[in-house]
Subunit: 180 residues, 2 copies
DNA sequence: TTTCTCATGTAACGCGTTACATGATTAC
DNA sequence: GTAATCATGTAACGCGTTACATGAGAAA
């Protein structure tokens, strides 16, 4: 359901091909929303049927043809309606916490390994995230308000990873004290 | 895929009915993993076919019959294997951030309303979360290590909501400064 | 009398992932 | 030669939600 509006939102900023959209959903957007390319092409098809977008076919020499999608008036309307609808709080699917909640059968070393691995993964995710802040969505044409919003969104991710890192660091420390 | 192991993990602690399991996935576990009852019954069926669990039927007077599920040796083995497998980082589907990223068309008041609503939702979620920390999984029979793990998991949720609250508060403040 | 709890399930649909399928150009 | 980028799609499967379906007892 939300992917529809995510695509409409991007197309409102600028027309894109399915391939372009796909890149955005692999870039910095992926922190809060991701989508695979089959999903994108499928959703574009639905949007076409609903006449929320229209296609412009561009033939290219030496490269595959492009289908550039544009948002229609109807699409804009739907997007605006959705923008005013309050959304539910984020859903987290935290496999690592699930694992932790049943990990008491593991011996001390195995458990510590799991914890440490999670920490190092979080660390590298954080630096990766800091690194590609400047890419993708953020360098699309934007006004002052838009820029403020994008900065705020990036900050959310930052806070999230920092909280996660603080947490896992404390858990490892506390665990070491416990098993003394 | 993970639901299978979540169920096995719970059944390892104690035998349960589908209905019991369903309650856990609506309680404090739901912060990091949720499942609806059709999903649970479906997964139990699969686990039965794989012989990872077995059924004990209990007839009750004046109440519907129960099917109590027990983990088998095979189920335990599968669980242990999974417990040693490093999991990917959590996936967040953050509808509100998605909305924010396209919200620059809204006027100042509408945007502020969205932000404030998110803040109040986060606040009530936080207090709800603090409230039911003592329920559900946490009062199952547990050893020292198990209790440490559950406390750590609860702390993760706490940090998460606190970070989210800090973030939205700052965003609202910054936005008010901007639109002066 | 209406709602909640106990207790089990199916059907239909929609969302999301992985694999399959093609094919040229460019960069290492 | 091998991988990446550009560019589009389909097929199959699995995960997740909502609605449908039943039915008794207890509490408000």
């Amino acid at each position: 359901m939300s992917l529809k509006y995510a695509i409409l939102g991007l197309l409102k900023i600028s027309p894109f091909t399915g391939y372009d959209l796909s890149k955005y959903f692999k870039g910095s957007i992926s922190f809060y929303w991701s989508a695979s390319h089959p999903q994108i092409y499928r959703t574009l098809k639905t949007l076409l049927n609903e006449e929320s977008v229209k296609q412009e076919v561009v033939t290219q020499e030496d490269l595959p043809n492009k289908k550039i999608y544009h948002i229609t008036a109807k699409g804009s309307e739907e997007l605006n309606k959705w923008l005013l609808t309050p959304q539910e709080l984020p859903q987290v699917r935290h496999k690592f916490l699930l694992q932790l909640s049943f990990a008491d059968n593991l011996d001390d070393e195995q458990l510590l390994d799991l914890l440490k691995e999670y920490k190092s993964k979080t660390e590298s995710q954080l630096s990766l995230y800091k690194g590609h802040q400047s890419e993708t969505v953020e360098n699309l044409p934007a006004n002052k308000k838009q820029k403020f919003l994008w900065k705020s969104i990036l900050k959310n991710g930052l806070y999230y990873y920092e909280a996660e890192l603080k947490w896992i660091t404390e858990v490892i420390n506390d665990y070491n004290k416990l098993s003394l």
